[in-house]
Amino acid sequence: MATTYLEAIREGLFEEMDRDPNVFLLGEDIGIYGGAFKVTAGMLDRYGPRRIVDTPISESAIVGAAIGASFMGLRPVAEMQFADFISCGFDQIVNFAAKCRYRWNAPAPMVVRAPCGGGIHGGPYHSQQNEAWFAHTPGLKVVLPATARDAKGLIKSAVRDNDPVIFFEHKALYRRVKEDLPQGDYTVPLGKANIHREGRHLSVITYSAMVHVADEAASIVAKEGLSVEVIDLRTLTPLDEDTILASVRKTSKAIVFHEATLTGGFGGEIAARITEKAFEYLDGPVMRLAAPDTPVPFSPTLEEAYLPNVDKLVAKIRQLAAY
């Protein structure tokens, strides 16, 4: 029976909570309500209020408390109701959690789950894709699964990881993406990209919801004889540079593709690394496709114009292929 992306995360959390009594969840409305998106539905019944902690509306306290609990040997999984509110707990994440191992050898093994991304008519405050802030903060790991299989395998790895992990779940994938999951206890390692689709002529390097857009675009241009490889990064830190470079060395052309806004997005990092480390292999400029530099607009006409999509990517692929 196919499992959705959302159910996959829930399963992963259930399994980790069963496996390790130190794992607990905290966040707003995660108990009786099961979370704004119902990811934690059923958890309170199973584990009780000791391990499923409903908190006041205070993102900084949620993150801070997770750090403090991690110091005491627990494995907190904190939920931000939307990734947009993670900026309310920003200082705790980038200054407390990220730096404590480096400074005084006090690891903070914890996960901050953050439902991100647009396409749900959420407007400027329920659609953000703000992973780049965290990928620029040494000490944090940044994870963004694209598939149900990875969502489960990565959340389990994140919970077991001994460093703070920001885990971005794409809201538009929660119920739209599903697949049969492997049986039993499996994990997907942090720091390993997935070759989502093999190809020979051009690499699209992407992550999160855009993996599916890239796959569709690849199918379309395949009919024109263009073989596109789709790399799903899965984690931005650690970054699987080897897989990126191997792909580009093979195809000689690369498009970096993400839903976050263009300027200062993580795509720049990837494009820069490709250029620096695979320059001789390049048969054309590394191109980027991303959202324009605006807040995420609410109205359907504007949001559609804002979000990267199959058409825009197909056009970009054709442009680079023709270079």
């Binding site: 409305d29 409903d54 509306i57 609410f298």
Partner: protein, 338 residues
């Protein structure tokens, strides 16, 4: 004949009193808010014409209305997400509100943002952002600016019980208190924040218990009585306008809905809904108005009818408002696109 005449006169006098006038205004705006939100939540949302989150203030209309009546027209308002009436009172039309919810250019944000995320500085209305309580420091700064400019306007800021847990709430009030900024703070204590009841939000009995920690006065009022809120609001506004600093008003009420349109609120004990349904601020005010001779039930029925008609027309207007042109997407990020 004489007796009848006298009675009519008495009635007339009562209905001409400032209190009657206030009550009629309160009833009008509460009813308008109720009607507009009913259409949004129960019709347009279910028809798929309204996208995104829908948060209504059913049963809590007395708060924005009582407060709004206590404000001077040039005072600056920071509504929260259940304060629709403040927009109506400042002359935003129901049509603009429907357009806003439907993402049309006729809305206050021209489709850039949705639902209650709207403002119009020319009307003294500042738009919330989603992050609860983020308005409080901003309102503090607006109030500091009014004082800086030597103006005698004040600022009113609105928030829920849950919002008081946020650091911004604390920092904003503290700054305003130290600066003696003219700020009146209205807490809509509807006893829930999404699914979270008060006892999981705070360990004190009242939000007002926090006021001494900022050295500011506070009072607790019946959140379903617009006239009581108006009175408290006047006290708060006078305090602030006299240069005495912030003033906190906690309005005890109940959220007669789910958190938003998609939330059935199974987590709320049914009994609470039943109890509080007896306290509907509109029904209560109507009853009182008839008792006091401030209005007849016929007049009230006419009011409802008029508002229904206006609302019908407003929806028509909004539905004719176009969606924004995608070519405008990148405008107005900066003063000049840069």
């Amino acid at each position: 004949m004489a007796a009848v005449k006298l009675e009519a006169l008495t009635r007339h006098d009562a209905s001409q009193s400032p209190e009657a006038d206030l009550a009629r205004k309160a009833l009008t705006y509460m009813t308008m808010m109720r009607e507009v939100e009913e259409r949004i939540e129960r019709r347009l949302y279910r028809q798929g014409k309204v996208l995104g989150g829908v948060y209504v203030g059913r049963g809590q209309e007395a708060i924005p209305v009582g407060a709004g009546l206590a404000a001077r027209p040039d005072d600056v308002l920071f509504p929260s997400h259940r304060d629709l009436a403040l927009y109506l009172m400042r002359g935003v039309t129901p049509g603009q509100i429907f357009a806003q919810y439907m993402g049309r250019v006729g809305g206050l944000t021209r489709g850039r943002d949705g639902n209650m995320h709207m403002g119009d500085l020319s009307k003294g209305l500042v738009a919330i952002i989603s992050a609860m309580a983020a308005s409080v420091p901003v309102a503090a700064g607006a109030a500091m600016a009014l004082k800086y400019q030597g103006r005698d306007q004040i600022v009113m800021v609105f928030f829920g019980d849950g919002a008081t847990s946020r650091g911004d709430w604390h920092e904003g009030i503290n700054l305003a208190a130290v600066q003696k900024a003219p700020l009146v703070l209205f807490c809509n204590n509807n006893q829930y924040a999404y699914s979270t009841p008060l006892d999981k939000q705070m360990a004190c009995a009242n939000v007002a218990d926090r006021a001494p920690g900022y050295g500011i006065p506070a009072e607790i009022v019946d959140g379903n009585d617009p006239l009581a809120i108006y009175e408290a609001g006047r006290r708060g506004a006078d305090h602030a306008r006299m240069g005495l600093g912030p003033y906190l008003i906690e309005c005890k009420t109940f959220r007669m809905t789910g958190h938003s349109a998609h939330d059935p609120a199974d987590y709320v004990p049914k009994q609470l809904f039943e109890e509080w349904s007896q306290q509907c601020p509109i029904v209560r005010l109507e009853k009182r108005m008839i008792e006091e001779g401030w209005a007849t039930s016929q007049e009230i029925a006419q009011l409802h009818e008029r508002i229904r008609l206006e609302t019908d027309q407003a929806i028509e207007w909004a539905e004719q408002s176009p969606y924004p042109d995608p070519s405008t997407l990148e405008l107005d990020v900066y003063e000049t696109k840069g």
